[in-house]
């Protein structure tokens, strides 16, 4: 059988399995990868070419740091402190939680961020007898927008950074301003859309204040020494990310250094910490790289790139196409397989276009596209899943009405900024 047809069939089969969620996405990706290896569509000796170790080690390092820091109570501390700072005002709660979610998401993974902040947000809205939906939606959008801002904020950015050799500062210079403007846009939109639901009596504000003041954020710190060590290591890692290009070290090395430093310094049991690494996510990435590698190996990606070039003639057209295609696709399919597929495509388009703005276009579309639908990003699924467990209903349509507008607004703003920067007015 023609290896090209096998590669396309396995790719589509894997995508279908991932989308159906009938089996775990990691199993789907591993199954696809092993089929391609068994049928020799991807020769074993070529596996290292497709397996992006930079992405896998960066994710592993950050998972170790986050899981060790989590034990200290650092994130509960942040959540309680944020709630107290809002002083019972619904608008301040919306603003502060959005800002903190975006900030934490820009350095840590979105799922961990929303898992840790949502319980506090629900508790606060419950105390104020407010509809939690606007707050939960704002948290989702902020998490996806915050993740866009940095190299380590969202897996698509890690993959793009690794494939294109983009540095932490490149992302900071190009994507952080867009993320900041998008965060403001999302906040204003949520406020205008739900402003009637954001009003409470002064008695309720006072009641919340009294209750929150009885909570001591310092009590959230389960292990003060580990807390201090975790904060120190996270700061060292962030500083190293800022200068990794000058030191000529890969971001993955920074993350692994931070992880080993924290393990060494904290004396936490490595068995316990390694057990908490999200192995399914890492195997999902590994499998996907090989499945997409099958398309590269058989020349499918190159043919698609040539076809695109037949219709797209300028950098500006390519910028718009990549952004909106990846945004709408990300709203429907997981942005990780989408990015894994788009990366070799953009590389293949490199012979005809300036790829630099195209990488940013992909990052913009892949990260912000997730805001479009309820199943567009992992953070959406986690927050809606938590809401379901707490008997709060957010239907697919409810989400779509707000999410699609936010997605279009934020992506359009991002494209506008990239256009001004790379194409010119």
């Amino acid at each position: 059988m023609d290896p090209t047809i096998i590669a396309i069939a396995v790719f589509l089969f894997t995508y279908a399995l991932i989308m159906s969620e009938r089996i775990h996405r990691a199993v789907a990706a591993l199954l696809g990868a092993s089929l391609l290896l068994m049928l020799n569509v991807v020769p074993w000796e070529n596996v290292p070419d497709y397996l992006d170790l930079n992405t896998i080690f960066l994710l592993t390092g950050m998972m170790i740091i986050v899981n060790t820091a989590r034990k200290s109570g650092l994130f509960e501390y942040i959540a309680i402190k944020t709630a107290k700072m809002a002083k019972g005002s619904p608008i301040k709660i919306l603003l502060l939680f959005s800002f903190v979610t975006a900030l934490v998401s820009s350095f840590l993974d979105n799922v961990t961020t929303v898992l840790l902040l949502t319980p506090m947000l629900l508790y606060v809205t419950n105390l104020m007898e407010l509809d939690p939906v606007p707050f939960l939606l704002a948290e989702i959008f902020a998490s996806n927008i915050g993740g866009t801002a940095t190299l380590i904020g969202d897996p698509p950015n890690i993959m793009i950074g690794s494939a294109a050799g983009l540095t932490f500062n490149d992302f900071l210079m190009n994507m952080a301003p867009i993320a900041f403007i998008d965060l403001l846009l999302a906040f204003v939109f949520i406020y205008l859309f739900y402003r009637k639901d954001l009003k409470v009596s002064s008695e309720k504000e006072e009641k919340l204040n009294l209750i929150l003041n009885r909570m001591d954020e310092k009590e959230a710190i389960k292990d003060l020494i580990l807390f201090e060590k975790s904060v120190t290591v996270i700061m060292i890692v962030v500083v190293l990310f800022f200068i990794h290009d000058k030191l000529n070290i890969e971001p993955a090395v920074v993350a692994m250094f931070g992880a080993s430093l924290l393990l060494l310094w904290s004396k936490e049991s490595p068995e316990e910490v390694f057990e908490k690494i999200e192995w399914p996510a890492l195997f999902f990435f590994g499998g996907l790289f090989i499945v997409v590698g099958g398309l590269v190996q058989t020349g499918v990606i190159e043919s698609i790139a040539e076809r695109i070039v037949d219709y797209v003639h300028t950098d500006s057209q390519a910028l718009v196409l990549i952004t909106w295609f990846s945004a709408f696709s990300s709203a429907v399919v997981d942005n990780i397989p989408l990015t894994a597929t788009m990366i070799p495509l953009i590389k293949a388009m490199g012979a005809f276009f300036n790829t630099r703005p195209l990488w940013w276009a992909l990052s913009l579309g892949a990260c912000l596209g997730g805001n479009g639908t309820a199943i567009g990003a992992s953070a959406n699924v986690v927050v809606i899943g938590i809401a379901e467990r707490e008997k709060i209903k957010i239907s697919f349509i409810d989400f779509l009405k707000v999410g699609m507008i936010i997605m279009i607004l934020t992506v359009a703003a991002g494209v506008g900024i990239l256009w001004i920067r790379y194409i010119g007015v």
């Binding site: 969620e21 775990h24 898992l115 319980p119 209750i211 009590e219 309820a374 699924v381 379901e388």
Partner: protein, 181 residues
């Protein structure tokens, strides 16, 4: 369950596993229960004192000043058992002398505390009587909304506990909120 809920739950399980339950468990220590959230209405406060209580910290006056329109009953209880013991061992005269001395200390202390409470905008009533330091406080607290008590009320604190045995007994038997200073 709708198709959407099924998909969300399946994906949630794949992405988050059982992490949410673990996080929720760690938050439970901080989230107050419904019972804890309901703030009690404080209209009457009982504040027992005795010769062990030399001063009341300023923070207590500040905290009590938040209970608008509340009436504070400051009671100075002289130990009936101590008087009886002195009477039996040293005679009637010594017992009388002890009681007079106690009353003098009580009056001085009551005056000082009443002044501070009134300056905090609270209505104050005072009582001084011979009685049982723990039983009478437990009895009086039944008609009050809050008990404010010094940790050294009744006797000195021991090496093993940070509150006196009398206060320990009181806090174990009253059914109203207690502020121990």
């Amino acid at each position: 369950m709708s198709i959407f809920s099924t998909i969300i739950n399946r994906r949630f399980k794949h992405i988050a596993g059982n992490r949410y339950e673990k996080i929720l468990k760690s938050y439970k220590e901080f989230f107050l229960t419904e019972e804890e959230i309901s703030l009690p209405v404080i209209k009457s406060i009982l504040m027992p004192i005795d010769r062990s209580v030399k001063t009341v910290p300023e923070e207590i006056y500040d905290a009590l000043s938040a209970c608008e329109d509340a009436e504070v009953t400051v009671v100075y209880i002289m130990s009936e058992d101590a008087c009886a013991l002195i009477r039996q061992t040293l005679g009637e005269e010594a017992s009388k002398e002890f009681r007079l001395k106690e009353e003098e200390i009580g009056r001085e202390l009551l005056e000082k505390i009443v002044l501070s409470l009134e300056n905090s905008g609270l209505k104050v009533r005072t009582r001084m009587f011979l009685g049982n330091k723990s039983e009478d406080v437990i009895k009086l607290s039944k008609e009050r909304d809050l008990l404010v008590i010094s940790r050294i009320y009744g006797s000195e604190i021991t090496k093993t506990t940070s509150i006196s045995p009398i206060v320990m007994k009181i806090v174990q038997h009253v059914n109203i909120p207690v502020m121990v200073y």
